[in-house]
Symmetry: D2
Subunit: 164 residues, 4 copies
């Protein structure tokens, strides 16, 4: 039987993943660059690793809801891209990526100077990849968790029209 | 026992709701007008009823993902506002509205000339209101269902700083 | 442009579906009969149509949570089967069915004498089918909506080991 | 600005929580003991900590779906209780606990000899607590992640009828 210590159970199911496409980073960066909504919203790529992608944006009043916080849909836009590209980083070269569904939990108002988003693969698969993501608001030295996401991402094979 | 016919079971749980705030429509319109992200994304209010809010946007390349479709996060932004304002329309005058969480299912690519979003209250409550929403892409005479959402919306009472 | 009336927008995206397997009903009934958890929980099949499956159970103290209501996980068990079999009813003969993910909203306590569950296909697909489900508690003449679900269901092809 | 290293971003947002009720463990154990469905399904409490609850069950054919795996609804029943009691452990003495909604991702078939479930608080709150949970199947020396959940849990105050 498995011996589960506090640390053990607490541990997030993070893993080291072996990318099937050695050029996964440039593939992700190229596709991300084609998402016009990213530059429109001022969302940048912070880092690309096999199974994990981090994004960043700074506060802009143009993307706020009625109380002056960043709209939950904008936070979701960044989290979805972080999760989808985390999944895409583990897909083979000929696969296109599509989001099946996601759930966002709004833990705290998205109030801050800068926002960080991290998407991670929980379970890769030939067709479906399960991911989770977290968003933090930062206001200088510390950061606050403002949202979490779980997203199901799909690989489409043999669709050259949707390649990137 | 309940006699459930085909029509019966198929029927969506839509209801006629009695608004607690007679000025619910102007309240919703005013708050919607404060969401800067709505004008940034070109999302307009189509209709406001007690427990149901409809929005509309036209395609804009600035909000697309890598395949040229509207990004799922943008669709979600509109659906979240439609659901939250559907809930807000049934809240008393002194309540502020906040989204707790939502799930979006991406049924088809958001590809079209115009997009329609409808948020409906499934179950209103003092603190929590459950809603569902649907998004359609339209390309002229017919429309295609492209996304669905279920969202939990919260009423905050006695928070004058968050009133609208 | 689409002319959306109140009725129009309110309308649930229900459709008439053409089953790919003419024997879909017996296929669903046979697979349902293999789910031992259904007889353990006393959940019965009420009706099977192309794209829609209804289930029923009566209250049993053995399946309650701490307040004496049916546990949300039991409601979910019925809703998941209703949604998965609604999807399965539209799949070709050689496909096996698997649930990818679901979200359940607990609208009201599952308190009653009898419970009804309905799963409906929102969007069928070759690999993924999107569904929604509703659960009602009934206490004699009227019924109360107690839960809703959205579920993503997957078709597995060429897996004879998982056929039913 | 926040300096985010690999370790940093990867880190799950786990925290040390200060319970408001010093007797939280006995409160959780007492309420869990009242959930008749837990003994019906053979689900046991493994450990109770402030903000984290672990459960365990062994495989039983009575709770299987058509392929012989534990039904996703049964896994969800355990995950929901783990998440709800993780939240309950941080609530004040006079609060009752209720699940608002949850989403379950079915990462792999629930196939094994023994199953472990862990629910953790992601963000506690006066009214709403956000949680996440994970389920593993174990077959001897190693374990496989089979499901993940995110759940929103509500505290009800002043409802002596729903206390436990």
């Amino acid at each position: 039987m498995v011996n589960t210590t506090k640390k053990d159970m607490n541990a997030p199911p993070t893993q080291i993943f072996e990318p099937r496409d050695p050029d996964f980073e440039s593939k992700v960066r190229k596709s991300f660059g084609l998402q016009k909504v990213m530059s429109t919203l001022g969302i940048d790529l912070s880092s690309v690793r096999a199974g994990e992608v981090a994004l960043r944006m700074t506060h802009d009043d143009a993307f706020t809801q009625q109380h002056g916080f960043i709209h939950a849909g904008v936070t979701t836009t960044a989290l979805d891209s972080a999760c989808a590209y985390a999944a895409f980083s583990l897909m083979p070269q000929d696969a296109a990526v599509l989001t099946v569904e996601f759930k966002t939990s709004l833990l705290a108002p998205a109030k801050g100077i800068e926002f960080h988003f991290c998407g991670q693969v929980l379970k890769p698969g030939k067709t479906l990849t399960y991911t989770q993501g977290y968003a933090w608001a930062s206001d200088g030295p510390h950061r606050v968790l403002v949202a979490s996401m779980t997203a199901t991402i799909m690989a489409l094979h043999g669709r050259s029209d949707l390649r990137l």
